[in-house]
Symmetry: C2
Subunit: 226 residues, 2 copies
């Protein structure tokens, strides 16, 4: 059987290739994520990304045109998956109760991000580092990305904060959200500083340990504003 045309044989073969590689598109995004996380946007080079993805540099330009659009594509891939999860978590909390716990809302704010793109261990993945850098930058490119990919979900969370904490004015709900994100970025950045300052007792590589301390801190802070 299957002695007909090579064309048909090639089509059948397609679906049998193990790593389902129709192109190197995804591998380039993976490599970009690693290199941008390590060196930042300006510190990263297309050469290093190409090398880590094991492709020619020209292939990156073929798929993504230039460095800026590669960076945006990498942010878009992760953020759309993460923010879908965040929105769904939020909706479920309000389906189960008309007045969910503040603690659950704050945890829903961070958990999808620390679980995105991580391999096996308990720490946040490389994308979390990129996010921390983008969030704390006033540069035009970073703030345009924040606006495009994160402002819509931010407004949903601000609404949620006001609903479970009716004493919050709109302005204070925005401040509360910004401060919560600020605390969260301390976790995403994974600088190792807590370990240094505590002689090893505090590990910001352990996302679960951090969540256990961040959530009560933020909730206490928000309740102090209301």
């Amino acid at each position: 059987m299957a002695t007909s045309t090579t064309t048909r044989s090639e089509e059948a073969q397609k679906d049998l290739d193990q790593p389902r590689r129709e192109s190197r598109f995804g591998s380039i995004l993976d490599a970009a994520e690693l290199v941008f996380a390590e060196s930042g946007y300006d510190g990263a080079s297309m050469r290093e990304i190409a090398s880590k993805a094991d492709v020619a540099q020209a292939l990156i330009h073929y798929h993504f045109k230039n460095k800026a659009q590669l960076f945006e594509a990498m942010v878009a891939r992760r953020s759309s998956s993460i923010n879908d999860d965040r929105a769904e978590l939020l909706d479920r909390l309000f389906e189960k109760s008309s007045h969910p716990d503040l603690e659950d809302i704050v945890e829903a704010l961070f958990r999808p991000t620390i679980e995105a793109g991580r391999t096996s261990t308990n720490n946040a993945g490389p994308y979390a580092r990129i996010l921390a850098s983008v969030a704390n930058s006033a540069g035009a490119r970073d703030q345009e990305l924040a606006k495009k990919y994160y402002d819509p979900i931010a407004l949903k969370y601000i609404d949620a904060l006001q609903r479970v904490q009716p004493g919050l004015s709109r302005a204070d709900a925005v401040w509360a959200y910004m401060f919560a994100i600020g605390v969260g970025m301390t976790m995403m950045a994974q600088t190792g500083r807590p370990k240094r300052l505590s002689d090893g007792a505090c590990d910001d590589g352990d996302a679960e340990e951090m969540l256990g301390r961040i959530v009560p801190f933020i909730c206490g802070g928000i309740r102090a504003l209301a």
Copy 2:
């Protein structure tokens, strides 16, 4: 008078020059601060710094050897002044009372930074932006600077937190400090995002407005940990 030697005349002239410029050392640091704040370490170029300082590029290398040491010199200048002020504020609080208000300690944490190197208005200066970037970066250079110039004063604040909030374990005091800094970096970064998310109601360019909301938030968070 003063018809003797040119040498003597030149010496007398020195002290009369209005802007007291013995060298362009300080102007280079000022320009570096502006450019690094705008573009980050890797995004900044020695050419642009030289241009903004109105000196030849080679002069920067003469005074600071290379880009990394210029960056460190800029951090060293501001941080030493800021952290002297912070330590003194902290000491005064404990001189006036054996049990100062947590609110005063948290305010002392940030006020010297937002007042450093600013020109006239109510916002934090360019150095605050650089600090936000360094604090949230896991890169080796940034963490070495954090360790060298900021870890010692951080330990003093962690001690202070434990003294005024005796329920805090050492580990939780370290977490509390890290989270407080995380919230503070939201203010230092001056991204403009609060304005975007609030239709103009929240302005992170107004440092006094932010301090008024940040201090109660952080204090509420710390009290929730103890």
